[in-house]
């Protein structure tokens, strides 16, 4: 704990010293147009005798994006784009009861429909007049919708008792109008993609492979009627290498590498990456002829990225408090909570004050730290998407859940925002999993083997990479929505080894994690001493889409986890079940050469 805190202070200091380099944004035409139109709306917007808005927020997301893909040394996609999206958030009523957190089943008003209608395109030119015009039209439409929503909501409220949680929390205004230093730019993405994808040319047994690089510079301008304004730049560079093949019996084999950074300089060097891709290709070839196993129940060690993958996919999704929207149909609210529980596990909101991890583990959300041991932390930000100052939040202390991450849509137990609105709803920023008794890698393996022996097993299991990332979470969510369960929703693991008592490792293929729930994490019996950084796009909780009911940013947050290796006492692994497609009839055209 102490180590982490000191490090925070250190990095924060570095950020602070960067600030004088930034330029003031008084000459920003877009910001001036936003603020002028906001001022006019605040003072003049009112329809006849109806409520005036009590809160207005204007946002402009400027997205400069370059997407590049390559396969076998040849580009398959190279697409630069520049977009400006504007969002207007209009609240009528008051902080206690307003038009948000409401969804009408009758008119499908509010919720997701509301979000989509509240985002529109803005001119790419810094054309003062046209930017104002777009905000004017968006504000008008959102205000009219807000009035209708509020009256429908009031009518629904008259039919029931109790709505003691306010709809919107009061927060101190933030001013952060420093023009952000523009990112380092995308760099030679095409060259990188070609070079990395060419590695697979020498492995015709790998059927498909692709290198995908996305650079996205996300500049947000924000102003609200409480006086908050900010200008924020969040460049993201994502590199993904994927490869798939089949074993001779048809079993699909896939692996991937994902790296996030703010710019090319955050990535390993090209030579290092080429070497990593080469290792992955070699591992896939080895997997084609590796043995499998029927079933395993026993201790499993998640090393390296694997711990971060499991933690962010299966546990971190519960660390947000998402409000249940009220509806004109009370059956919806009942159904909503069931649905949320189905889609990726419910929130921990009912577990506040209870133990959710073993006593030696704590979890902190810290957006103030921008890097960890030279690795970029992707959740770093000074202000969140509600214009609330971000802060360090202790979520779990010695295994006990202290609080959850929230936006300005409060929930019963947590009245204030934690500064955690990222895009559509609350999301973690940088999660630090810390322990007071970390073991060295050797000690961890010894501990695994000790338990293996105790259980009378022939070997233990080490998972080094789960694979799939946010895409896998999304597929799982889709499978749950389609009512599938069991094997279909389990985690297929891309890199898993049997560890024998003599220390020998044997690669295993076609294995899936049978069942992993947030409760499984209570069975962590030991962790490593050297945490690693794992980053991935955060699949937003569906609940946030409904409960927000007002405008949103289109940002998809990337969450970084700083997390040590984890030894679980009991995890079930099963063999992947078919049916698998037949292997190809023709060999690869590369094979004949």
């Amino acid at each position: 704990m102490n180590v982490t805190l000191r490090r925070v202070a250190l990095v924060w200091g570095v950020l602070g010293s960067l600030l004088p380099l930034t330029a003031p944004a008084q000459d920003d035409v877009a910001m001036r147009a936003m603020q002028d139109e906001l001022a006019r709306s605040v003072s003049q917007l009112q329809l006849q005798q109806m409520d005036k808005p009590y809160f207005l927020a204007y946002r402009m997301d400027e997205i400069n994006e370059t997407t590049v893909s390559a396969s076998l040394g040849s580009l398959t996609l190279s697409q630069p784009s520049r977009t400006r999206l504007i969002g207007v958030e209009v609240r009528v009523g008051d902080y206690a009861i307003d038009n948000s957190n409401y969804i009408s089943m009758g008119s499908l008003r509010g919720g997701m429909a509301g979000i989509l209608s509240s985002i529109s395109q803005a001119p790419l030119d810094d054309n003062y007049q046209q930017i104002r015009r777009q905000f004017w039209l968006a504000t008008d439409a959102q205000y009219k919708k807000a009035l209708e929503d509020l009256s429908a909501k009031r009518a629904a409220l008259n039919m029931r008792k109790g709505n003691e949680v306010p709809d919107f929390s009061k927060e101190s205004p933030v001013r952060d109008n420093e023009k952000p230093v523009s990112g380092a730019g995308p760099g030679d993405l095409e060259g990188l993609a070609r070079a990395l994808s060419a590695v697979f040319k020498s492995s015709p047994e790998i059927y498909t492979s692709s290198v995908d690089v996305v650079y996205r510079d996300f500049v947000t301008r924000y102003a609200n009627s409480e006086g908050s304004t900010f200008l924020r730049s969040q460049p993201i560079l994502k590199l993904q290498v994927t490869a798939q093949t089949q074993a001779n019996d048809g079993l699909p084999i896939a692996d991937s590498i994902e790296v996030f950074g703010r710019s090319m300089t955050d990535l390993p060097t090209r030579d290092q990456l080429v070497a990593q891709v080469g290792e992955m290709a070699a591992r896939i070839l080895k997997l084609r002829s590796a043995s499998s196993m029927e079933r395993y129940n026993g201790p499993v060690l998640f090393e390296g990225a694997a711990a971060g993958e499991m933690f962010s996919q299966e546990f971190a999704t519960g660390l947000m408090a998402v409000r249940t929207p009220m509806s004109d149909d009370s059956r919806f609210e009942l159904f909503f909570n069931q649905m949320m529980a189905q889609l990726g596990g419910g929130s921990f909101v009912d577990k506040l004050g209870g133990r959710v991890l073993p006593e030696f583990l704590s979890v902190t959300d810290n957006p103030l730290q921008a890097e960890y041991q030279g690795h970029a932390l992707m959740g770093a930000a000074k202000v969140d998407d509600d214009g609330v100052k971000t802060r360090n939040t202790v979520l779990i202390e010695h295994g006990v859940l202290k609080t959850l991450l929230t936006t300005r849509a409060p929930v019963r137990a947590i009245p204030q925002s934690t500064g955690s609105r990222r895009g559509w709803g609350p999301a973690p920023s940088n999660l630090f999993v810390t322990s007071d008794k970390g073991l060295s890698p050797d000690e961890l393996r010894k501990e695994l083997l000790r338990r293996v022996k105790e259980r009378g097993l022939d070997y233990g299991i080490v998972v080094r990479r789960v694979g799939g990332g946010s895409a896998a979470s999304f597929m799982k969510m889709a499978a749950r929505m389609a009512g599938q369960s069991g094997a279909n929703t389990s985690n297929s693991i891309s890199e898993v080894y049997k560890l024998y008592p003599d220390g020998r490792e044997e690669l295993v293929r076609g294995v899936e994690i049978a069942e992993m729930t947030p409760a499984t994490f209570k069975d962590v019996v030991a962790v490593g001493a050297a945490p690693v950084v794992y980053s991935d796009e955060f699949v937003p909780r569906i609940g946030a889409l409904f409960s927000l009911g007002v405008s949103a940013s289109s940002n998809v947050p990337v969450v970084s986890c700083v997390i040590p290796a984890m030894l679980f006492e009991e995890v079930s692994l099963v063999k992947s079940q078919g049916p698998f497609p037949n292997p190809p009839i023709s060999p690869s055209p590369l094979a004949k050469q």
Binding site: S69, S71, Q79, L124, R133, Y143, N582, I585, S586
Partner: protein, 564 residues
């Protein structure tokens, strides 16, 4: 303006460079041929073997630049390469593509999921691997589909149309040089800003856009019969749109589109700006125009309106596969060699037509998307139905393709329109046609007739489950009173049913107009044209247009104050 000079130099240079390379092997076409032959031979050994395989690889490079009210809203340049594969198991009589009757409409949905993207570079290795992957994938699916088809044929009633699933076609070898493509984005960003600016000066105008679409599409096709076709053509489209809102909430759109196969075939700035000014004036007049009432009576359809009228209500009903599909109403199926139009009207479809008079026709192509040579098809000769538009899917009595198998990349080919030409053997002047209209008005004892001067498009239904109505959406409509007075009105759509509408055509004028557009149907969006003289119709029907219920914005538009 040294732009035209620049284009000339570049195109000269490019065409000479490519003229050379056209003699040499095209590495992409060679890779396609190589992999097609290799995969086809290998798959032949499997059971069931494929009997036909084709690849169509479509390269598209597109620059799209859009502005609204004088400000740039989009400027993109994209490059795509998409593969379409036709792999057939079974035989010409019955194969895996046979329509499943009363099956799910989502048969082909997600067909491409998980398939690799095609390399954009002309890299034979990467391309061969991608082609191989897709071919293997499609073969597995085709085998499954064939089993499904065989079962479906057994359990359903015998089909009315007993023609086969595929027809033989000649072996073709056609190669165009890769066409030059040049557009200076900076210059066009400035142009579309300028073209969309005048709309900003009127508060009645709520939407505006000026957009240039510059595209070059290169299609390479190879099949297991040995055909190979390489076509490459640029395409430039400038569209100007604006919408005004009347006090009652009615939205009034106007569109102006210019298309050409050459960038310098688009009109100059002065001509465009003149059209923009005219659009502004028409919009302002429309806002103040009276709302037309539902009405039946005589009307004149201008050449442009008649073109869309024919495209929708006639053209879509002579597309071959609609005569076979038993969900379709098959209006004309049993009418071959019967009169379907007045005897002074003839209609043909001609994809080989590059222009009509001075106007370029965007439905031009030398070969269709099944590698079949394009040709003129006489559909109606002096009122009598002679033929249908055919792809390689045969129908009863029409066993082979006539070069109308078309698709947007990514869709399955069906028979589509190309350049639809409506000709009249007798025609009068526009003034005479108006006089004839007034005669009709008086004879029918109507207060006025209608003149449909401009339209934005239309749609029709051709299936049995819904009435076969059409809707042509006019933008500029006049009432013509018996005294000859013309009055602009707003708020009506032209509606009707096909057979009645055709029987009411009385006369044609000599003012032939061309409507160039893109048509959307089962096989995606394809460029088409239709041309027709103005027509006098003894009875049409109009209905009220849908109308926005949105109240006008509460605050006035922001004033242009505080701009530095």
């Amino acid at each position: 303006m040294n732009l035209p000079g620049k284009i000339l130099i570049i195109s000269l240079w490019l065409s000479s460079a490519l003229g050379l390379s056209a003699q040499q092997a095209d590495p992409v076409l060679s890779a396609m041929k190589g992999e097609l032959n290799r995969s086809f031979q290998n798959l032949k050994k499997a059971t069931p073997p494929p009997y036909f395989l084709s690849y169509q690889l479509t390269d598209n490079r597109a620059v799209v630049i859009t502005a609204s009210f004088g400000a740039l809203t989009g400027s993109t340049e994209g490059k795509t390469r998409l593969l379409d594969v036709d792999l057939r198991v079974g035989d010409y009589k019955l194969d895996n593509t046979h329509p499943i009757r009363e099956g799910s409409a989502f048969g082909a949905f997600g067909e491409r999921m998980g398939e690799p993207r095609m390399p954009l570079d002309d890299a034979p290795d990467a391309l061969s691997v991608a082609l191989w992957q897709v071919t293997e994938n499609r073969y597995r699916r085709a085998v499954e589909q064939l089993e499904h088809v065989k079962a479906n044929v057994q359990v359903k009633v015998e089909q009315e149309d007993r023609s086969g699933d595929f027809s033989a076609a000649g072996v073709e070898n056609y190669r165009e040089p890769i066409a030059p493509f040049f557009i200076d984005s900076k210059i066009w960003e400035e142009k579309v800003r300028k073209f969309s600016q005048p709309f900003a000066e009127h508060k009645e105008i709520i939407e505006s856009s000026a957009q240039i679409d510059a595209e070059i599409e290169t299609r390479r096709y190879v099949n297991s019969d040995g055909s190979q076709v390489l076509m490459s053509s640029p395409f430039y489209r400038l569209s100007i749109s604006a919408t005004a809102k009347a006090d009652d909430g009615m939205e009034l759109p106007l569109h102006q589109t210019y298309m050409s196969f050459r960038l310098d075939g688009l009109p100059g700035d002065a001509a465009v700006q003149k059209d923009v000014d005219r659009m502004v004036q028409t919009l302002l007049a429309l806002v103040r125009a009276p709302v037309a009432e539902p009405f039946t009576g005589p009307a004149i359809l201008s050449g442009r309106a008649s073109s869309v009228f024919f495209h929708e209500i006639f053209g879509h009903r002579i597309e071959g596969q609609r005569q076979k599909n038993e969900d379709e109403a098959q209006t004309f199926k049993k009418k071959v060699n019967q009169a379907v139009l007045p005897d002074f009207i003839s209609v043909y479809s001609d994809p080989t037509l590059h222009q009509l008079g001075e106007t370029e026709l965007v439905g031009y192509y030398p070969y269709d998307d099944e590698g079949v040579r394009a040709r003129r098809v006489m559909i109606v000769e002096r009122g009598v139905l002679k033929n249908f538009l055919m792809s390689r899917t045969p129908i009863e009595g029409f066993s082979s393709s006539n070069g109308h198998g078309r698709r947007q990349q990514g869709y399955k080919v069906v028979a589509r329109q190309s350049n639809l030409v409506v000709e009249s053997s007798k025609h009068v002047s526009r003034a005479e046609l108006k006089r004839m209209l007034i005669e009709q008005v008086k004879a029918a004892n109507k207060p006025y007739g209608l003149l449909f001067d401009d339209i934005e498009g239309g749609f029709t239904f051709t299936q049995r489950v819904i009435p076969n109505a059409f809707n042509v959406r006019p933008t500029v409509v006049y009432r013509i009173y018996p005294d000859g007075r013309e009055e602009l009105v707003r708020g009506v759509d032209l509606i009707g049913t096909p057979l009645i509408a055709f029987s009411k055509i009385l006369a044609a004028d000599d003012d032939v107009a061309v409507f160039n557009g893109v048509c959307g149907a089962e096989s995606g969006w394809v460029p088409v044209s239709a041309s027709s003289p103005g027509l006098l119709i003894s009875q049409i029907e109009v209905q009220r247009k849908e109308k926005s219920q949105e109240r006008a914005p509460i605050l006035p538009p922001p004033a242009a104050v505080r701009e530095k």
